[in-house]
């Protein structure tokens, strides 16, 4: 149950939101439900730029596509996603991270975390499992995200592996369990607790991050520290992380056992979470290869006879983007785009493509990414009731006049 202190903290957070009068309606993605088109203003949470407000409580705010024109997403434009509404303002001086269940239980302060473990950096895409859920056909219930439930940042922190090894990894451990400071208003609501298979937790790229793009994590993105599980969807990236424990059996909380599951074999995933698999389904694991045109929105105007190029970002689960191709004939033929700097295999990779000097009329443009494992985006969505893993090839139509 939310106590008076956290209720006050929550109300203070809400009180600093912009008044509702004269809010700009947001640039929502084509295909989201009409209820989003009509009701999603651009609004700023404290410390954030105006983002696409999908819900206030818990806060779910989407990043407008314009912020993805650069490979790195600014902290103050980074999307916000919470399941539960009791979100404390964590005091870094009082915060601690407990690692229990090993031979050497630890309680780390933020200073301990920074001082006692080598700092490492990884540039990685944080993408909600349900990014683009709003584009599902038929629509499915949930937070109706368009393109922007994602972002790419330079995360700095301690390797989870180093922390776990210091805490003494029991040889029976098969999963690592993560808890955060945020919780539910209703005591009967299952707390948001997640687990990772031990192999992913011990991966050298999995870190407990305390910096994002060279600055402390924003409150809304997990201050003072969160888990970074590069390549895997953001459901595992525990915000405001407070507790890590070893488990010798599959963790069976609601958010593992019932939520964030996909039918086994439906998606071409190769990262497996075997201890959690059932004959029917598996927890979602790595992201699917994907891309987004960010230079132009669908329906954008451009000048006839003038040089025109499009650009965007591509990403996958860490196999690395091999190529992005562009089609201007509805997918009959594809030409390779130019890739921007490689910021690491877990990062957004920018791309650009020159369209020449198009003549007056409608010009359709599609972009398709392929990763180094040969996986590519799909032409039609692989339907699943929770609306996960939407990586349909995007098509925009430009109005050349």
């Amino acid at each position: 149950m939310m106590d008076r202190r956290s209720l006050l903290a929550g109300a203070a957070g809400l009180a600093t939101m912009r008044a509702s009068a004269a809010l700009a309606m947001a640039p929502v993605s084509p295909g989201v439900p009409a209820g989003v088109v009509d009701n999603a203003p651009l609004e700023a949470l404290p410390g954030k730029k105006p983002l696409i407000k999908l819900s206030y409580r818990p806060p779910n705010f989407e990043t407008p596509v314009e912020y993805f024109r650069d490979a790195i997403t600014p902290n103050d434009a980074f999307f916000v996603r919470y399941h539960l509404a009791d979100i404390p303002q964590v005091d870094a001086a009082k915060w601690s991270l407990k690692i229990g269940g090993g031979a050497n239980p630890l309680t780390l302060t933020l200073d301990d975390l920074k001082r006692d473990y080598p700092a490492v950096e990884v540039t990685a895409v944080c993408q909600c499992s349900g990014n683009r859920r709003g584009l599902s056909q038929p629509h499915v219930p949930g937070v109706e995200w368009g393109y922007g439930a994602m972002g790419n940042a330079r995360w700095k922190g301690a390797r989870l592996k180093d922390i776990l090894e210091k805490a003494g990894v029991p040889k029976e451990a098969i999963e690592i369990v993560f808890r955060g400071a945020d919780g539910a208003v209703n005591p009967k609501t299952p707390n948001f607790v997640k687990s990772l298979p031990i192999w992913k937790a011990l991966d050298e790229n999995t870190i407990v991050a305390y910096e994002m793009n060279g600055a402390p994590l924003p409150h809304w993105n997990g201050f003072p520290a969160r888990l970074i599980a590069p390549g895997w969807t953001a459901t595992y990236w525990m915000k405001h992380i407070t507790e890590i424990s070893f488990s010798d059996k599959p963790f069976d909380g609601f958010w593992m056992k019932s939520a964030y599951r996909v039918p086994l074999g439906l998606f071409p995933s190769t990262d497996r979470f075997i201890s959690q698999e059932t004959p029917a389904n598996t927890p979602i694991t790595e992201m699917m290869v994907n891309s987004l045109i960010t230079s132009h929105a669908d329906g954008a105007k451009a000048r006839a006879g003038a040089s025109l190029s499009i650009g965007g970002v591509a990403w996958d689960s860490g196999r690395g983007v091999a190529r992005v191709e562009v089609s201007t004939d509805d997918g009959k033929s594809w030409r390779e785009a130019t890739l921007g700097p490689d910021l690491g295999r877990f990062s957004f990779r920018t791309f650009s493509f020159a369209l020449g000097k198009p003549r007056r009329g409608k010009l359709s443009v599609m972009a398709r990414a392929t990763n180094k494992a040969g996986q590519t985006q799909v032409s039609t969505a692989i339907f699943n009731p929770p609306g996960y893993h939407h990586n349909v090839i995007q098509k925009i139509t430009l109005d050349i006049a």
Binding site: M1, M2, L7, L8, A11, L14, A15, T16, M17, R18, A19, S20, L23, P33, A34, G35, V36, D38, N39, A40, E43, K53, L54, S55, Y56, R57, P58, A85, G134, P138, H139, P141, G142, V143, E144, A184, V185, N186, P187, K188, T189, P190, F254, S258
Partner: protein, 96 residues
């Protein structure tokens, strides 16, 4: 603190906060039979924009399943009579 008291407390804090008010309180659901039941129960845990964004594409069966999920999975304390009123209201006003 029960849910209705929580809402009262939140509203009271809201009013005390004056001008730049929490915008979720500006969300107005369509008037209709059951709207108060929806507000009193659903807003205990989440803002009502969850209803708006999830419209209009859910039929009676899907809205009923959502209300059932809120009770069974998320522990919402909604009695069976209210659950039906809520599902009926949502189907009629935000269904599709």
């Amino acid at each position: 603190m029960n849910h209705s008291r929580l809402i009262v407390a939140a509203l009271a804090l809201g009013l005390a906060g004056a001008a730049a008010r929490a915008d979720e309180f500006a969300i107005k659901l369509k008037p209709g039979e059951g709207v108060d039941t929806v507000q009193n129960n659903c807003a205990a845990c989440h803002s009502l924009d969850y209803v708006l964004m999830n419209s209009p594409f859910m039929d009676a069966k899907t809205w009923t399943a959502e209300v059932t999920k809120m009770k069974a999975a998320f522990g919402a304390d909604i009695n069976d009579t209210d659950a039906k009123v809520i599902a009926d209201y949502l189907t009629k006003n935000y269904g599709g």
